[in-house]
């Protein structure tokens, strides 16, 4: 757990150049070590999602450097960013972002197929993930038929398909009922226990407390608190 997997140095992000006085992120420095589960807390507009987008390579910083697993993400071109997202990160979204016209298995297979993994190998990996996440019986079902919790499990399976060193989760329980949220909470905790590095953006302090061994809090784009939490044992993978 000593190797930093995320290094963020002096990162600022301003969406509107004329509004430089109110950046989404302002000179942020952050390091996340491999195996850590870090929860990013903060109110709306504090810069949480911006931070996640920068780490995911979905957006570029106005200033500063973002380095993930040894890759200078801020310097990558579009094609290299796509390759980076395939190989090094998995993403879980608040609203699952499953493709509704593909069945569960096809959704999970997508990252592997985009990365050019052999069909048999990809199917085996998908089957293994669906089995372990408890949604194998829904492999041929379409996402619209699943409950929110099940959809989020499928989304997690898809995120883990290419064995990414870093899992990014953006309000993963934000669209779920209480029971489903607890379900996902357990899942993330288990993944981290097995060594999966997780960067989690959430409003949900309970989720942060349950899943994260470290919590940071942003306010107006600045890091205002960075505290360690006691990790919870358990795992599923």
């Amino acid at each position: 757990m000593n190797t930093p997997i995320i290094r963020i140095r002096g990162v600022s992000k301003t969406y509107d150049r004329s509004d430089a006085a109110h950046p989404a992120l302002a000179g942020l420095d952050l390091e996340v070590r491999a195996g850590e589960a870090v929860a990013v807390l903060g109110r709306s507009g504090s810069g949480k999602s911006t931070l996640l987008n920068l780490v995911a390579g979905l957006d570029r910083p106005s200033e500063g450097a973002v380095e993930v697993d040894g890759v200078a993400v801020h310097r990558l071109g579009e094609a290299a960013l796509a390759e980076y997202r395939r190989r090094r990160i998995g993403m879980v979204f608040q609203f699952f972002n499953l493709l509704d016209d593909l069945n569960v298995e096809d959704n999970v297979l997508l990252p592997a197929q985009l990365a050019g993994m052999r069909r048999e190998q990809a199917r085996a990996r998908a089957g293994e993930l669906l089995e372990r996440l408890g949604v194998a019986r829904h492999a041929k079902a379409f996402p619209g038929r699943l409950s929110g919790g099940e959809r989020q499990r499928v989304a997690v399976a898809r995120a883990l398909m290419n064995r990414p060193p870093l899992l990014l989760a953006d309000e993963p329980t934000g669209a779920l009922d209480t029971a489903s949220a607890a379900d996902v909470r357990d899942l993330l905790r288990g993944l981290n226990a097995e060594g999966q590095t997780i960067l989690l953006v959430t409003h949900d302090t309970a989720l942060a407390a349950a899943c994260a061994d470290r919590t940071i809090e942003l306010l107006d784009g600045r890091l205002v608190r960075d505290t360690a939490a006691v990790p919870t044992p358990g795992g599923v993978l």
């Binding site: 390759e83 509704d100 379409f142 619209g144």
Partner: protein
């Protein structure tokens, strides 16, 4: 501005690309329709209109002033049936050569005999319209009849046989609806063009009360001849050949312009339908918001009707402008081909076409607009958050779908109302999509291939438009190839890289004493000769012939001449003839019939073995067939057509042979290439219409892909977040049109071929000829293959821009899109 007005304006302004596509689509469609409709209208009796506009003459008459006094000639204007007359104008018939300033034909080349008339441009009859250049300003200049001379403005003609060897510079081309002369000069010029010992003729132009048929015109001519001393009327030319040619040419345009017009109309309706309904559908969530704010269903419907009509109105206005601008060069060629009668787009076409286009847009927009107005607010708000594929997925779920949370979660219940039928179709589409997903191609491509299944109706409509576009391209290519072959066949009478015949002018040995055997030996002996044949008119007639057939006899190897047979075979010796369509039609004869050849009381039977492609009324036979009839020919009109071995210089060959045949009373000249203005006009028009149709089809694809991409931009964001690269994104979007493009090619090309096989014979029938099978069978694999791929190319070109946009779409932005 009212709330409704603001909504409409904002809707038009916000979807700029979609608005632009609609403007361009309607513009191209209206432009094509204006052109097609303009030509169709012009093709209805073009000659009659020009005749009326230019005060045409029914008869152009040349009198010999030595045989009739001016008073007698003037009195002929009161002959029976004459309603108007003009003249006298001094006229001379000359045989010029091309002057030093002339490029084609080379300087010094003999030109066809011409009748030059000294008169002013305007007159009480046969007003001359300058088509290029200007009218003559004095001696030394000539204006020639447009389309009847190889010379162009700037060229010159010389008269080496006349005193002073005068030269005339061509300063203009003029259209004469009556073909009253081959050229016009200043009246004071005529004396200098008159050969010593002769006097210029006096030209009079006449109109008659009855001149609708050849018989009536002939009766009118007889009345004039009777009104002047015997022999005074030396030449009378009727307006009828010009009228018949113009009407025949005009009617050949009708079938293919109609075909293109119908293709264009159907395609425009489809594309406008896709564009307009897509625009309304894409804005469903906005409709929900408007209704939630208190807009009534009628207001919503009016708003979306307005949003469709504003860009369509702009496009229509631009289309009218474009159509009229394009009509200048495009219809200008057709005008020449029709010998006038095409004076621009009629005003009512400029009103009727845009009115029809706007009505089509309004009609197309009304259905989705009314549907939008009736949409329940809560549904409209939810629909806007849903990708189309999700609806189908929800339909597959059926009524048992579990409602979840969030934007995507509400789909199951809505789709569940679709009923068993919808679920069945959805299941079928899902099966197809799964099948495509299993194809052994990269996933980005299989995702693209399955994209049309998300909006099968829209995709099918767009594919249908590409089908029509491909059919249009196929028809255009087929017409161009067939017309080229047909032109070659019709020009076969002028075959030969070198032609030996009696010179048009100058002293020489009397042609009727030409030693044909000596000429043949000279041709055979000349290095570079590959093959040759001779043709000569004969006085032979066919017993019972109700037409005016001209019998032509051939000697030598005619196989390379290019004569094409509509049916049957070429004659193989005496006792056999081939005839043109005119003979068969006039005499109700058919291939296989036996006819009787007659010459000065001698007869011999001959069987019709084939129908030859020709616009003239010809009967072709072997020279040996004349033996039983005495063998008489019009030797002064004999011509030898020579084909050369590859690499032989035609000019050098002709010069060398000319030295040998000149003492025999003949001359050798390089054969001339002729440009058929009618074929050129048809090809230009077909090409222009095809280009417009292709652009409209491409815009349709662009619009569809754009709508698909925008509707699924959130999914695109997800895919990019999962690692889809820009190249994969472009591949996915382009692949989404490959299936429909290829299918369009596979369906559109046969349709185009089918239309071609209907249009070409119809055009030929209008021209009074048949079409040889070889001229129809132009679609060999080398042509069909690229045409089939043409549908794909058309679709890919249309999808290229949206594909680039999709690749450039920022992932974060796409993910945030609802």
């Amino acid at each position: 501005m009212s709330a409704l007005g603001k909504v409409v304006r904002a809707g038009v302004g916000r979807k700029r690309v979609q608005t632009l596509v609609m403007v361009l689509t309607t513009m191209m469609s209206v432009t094509a329709c204006i052109l097609a409709a303009g030509l169709l209208v012009a093709a209805q009796g073009p000659y009659q209109r020009s005749f009326a506009d230019q005060h045409g003459a029914h008869l152009n008459v040349l009198y010999d002033p030595a045989k009739a006094s001016p008073a007698q000639l003037a009195a002929a204007g009161h002959a029976s049936g004459v309603t108007a007359s003009a003249g006298p104008y001094p006229a001379v018939t000359v045989q010029p050569r091309s002057g030093e300033d002339t490029r084609i034909p080379p300087p010094g080349s003999p030109l066809p005999p011409m009748t030059l008339v000294g008169r002013a441009q305007d007159g009480p009859m046969d007003g001359l319209r300058i088509t290029f250049g200007r009218w003559v300003r004095g001696p030394g200049e000539v204006v020639i009849l447009d389309g009847h001379s190889p010379l162009a403005v700037g060229d010159s003609m010389q008269f080496p046989g006349l005193p002073g060897q005068p030269t005339l510079k061509v300063v203009g081309l003029a259209a004469s609806v009556s073909w009253s002369a081959d050229g016009w000069v200043a009246p004071e010029q005529v004396a200098g063009l008159t050969a010593p010992g002769t006097t210029p003729a006096a030209q009079y132009l006449y109109r008659f009360a009855r001149a609708g048929t050849d018989t009536e015109v002939e009766a009118d001519r007889s009345a004039l001849a009777a009104a002047v001393p015997p022999g005074a009327l030396t030449k009378a030319t009727s307006y009828r050949p010009a009228q018949e040619e113009a009407d025949r040419t005009a009617s050949t345009f009708v079938p293919f312009v109609t075909a293109f017009g119908l293709l264009g109309l159907a395609m425009s309706v489809l594309i406008i339908g896709v564009v307009v309904s897509g625009a309304v559908t894409a804005a469903t969530r906005r409709i929900g918001i408007l209704k939630s704010l208190g807009f009534t269903p009628a207001q919503v419907a009016r708003a979306y009707l307005g949003q469709a009509l504003i860009p369509a109105g702009i496009g229509t206005a631009l289309g009218v402008l474009g159509g009229n601008l394009l009509s200048v060069p495009v219809l200008g060629l057709a005008h020449k081909a029709l010998r006038g009668g095409l004076l621009g787009i009629p005003f009512w076409v400029d009103l009727a076409v845009p009115a029809a286009a706007l009505a089509a847009v309004a009609g197309t927009a009304l259905v989705p607009a009314l549907r939008a107005g009736r949409l329940r607010t809560v549904e409209a708000l939810a629909v806007g958050r849903t990708a189309p594929g999700a609806k189908r997925a929800a339909a597959r779920v059926g009524q048992g779908g579990q409602a979840g949370q969030g934007g995507q979660a509400g789909q199951g219940g809505r789709g569940g109302r679709g009923g068993r039928g919808r679920a069945g179709v959805a299941g079928l589409l899902a099966g197809l999509q799964n099948g495509i997903g299993r194809l052994p191609v990269p996933r980005a491509l299989s995702l693209g291939l399955a994209t049309p299944l998300n909006r099968p109706g829209r995709s099918a409509t767009t594919a249908a438009a590409v089908v029509l576009g491909t059919a249009g391209v196929t028809l255009c290519v087929g017409l161009t190839l067939s017309l080229g072959l047909l032109q070659d066949g019709l020009e076969a009478g002028r075959a030969g890289k070198v032609v030996v015949e009696a010179p048009m002018e100058g002293p020489g040995q009397p042609a009727d004493q030409v030693d044909e055997a000596a000429v043949a030996r000279a041709i055979d002996a000349r290095p570079g000769t590959r093959a040759w044949y001779s043709s000569v008119p004969t006085p032979v007639t066919l017993a019972g012939n109700t037409g005016r057939s001209e019998a032509v006899a051939f000697t030598g190897d005619v196989s390379w001449s290019g004569y094409q047979l509509v049916s049957g075979r070429w004659f193989s010796g005496p006792g056999e003839v081939v005839v043109g369509s005119t003979y068969l039609r006039t005499n109700r004869a058919k291939v296989g019939d036996t006819v009787t050849l007659t010459d000065h009381g001698r007869t011999t039977p001959a069987r019709i073995t084939g129908e030859v492609l020709t616009t003239g009324d010809f009967v072709f036979m072997d020279r040996a067939a004349l033996a039983p009839l005495g063998g008489a020919v019009a030797a002064e009109a004999i011509s030898f057509h020579i084909d050369l071995t590859p690499g032989t210089d035609a000019n050098a060959y002709a010069n060398a042979l000319d030295g040998v045949v000149r003492p025999m009373g003949l001359s050798a000249e390089p054969g001339a290439q002729h440009i058929n203005i009618v074929v050129l006009a048809m090809n230009t028009l077909a090409g222009t219409l095809t280009l417009l149709l292709s652009v409209v089809a491409g815009l349709g694809v662009l619009n569809t892909v754009l709508l698909d991409t925008r509707e699924r931009v959130h999914d695109l964001g997800v895919l990019k977040a999962l690692g889809m690269s820009p190249r994969q994104t472009v591949g996915m979007v382009l692949t989404s049109v490959c299936g429909s493009g290829l299918a369009a090619g596979l369906i559109g090309v046969p349709i185009g071929i089918l239309v071609h096989h209907q249009v070409m014979p119809a055009m030929a029938r209008a021209a009074g000829i048949g079409v040889p099978e070889t001229d129809l069978g132009v679609f060999d694999p080398a042509v069909v293959g690229p045409l089939i791929l043409g549908g794909l190319v058309l679709a890919l070109l249309g999808a290229a821009l949206p594909a680039t946009w999709a690749a450039r779409t920022r992932t974060v932005t796409a993910l945030r899109t609802e």
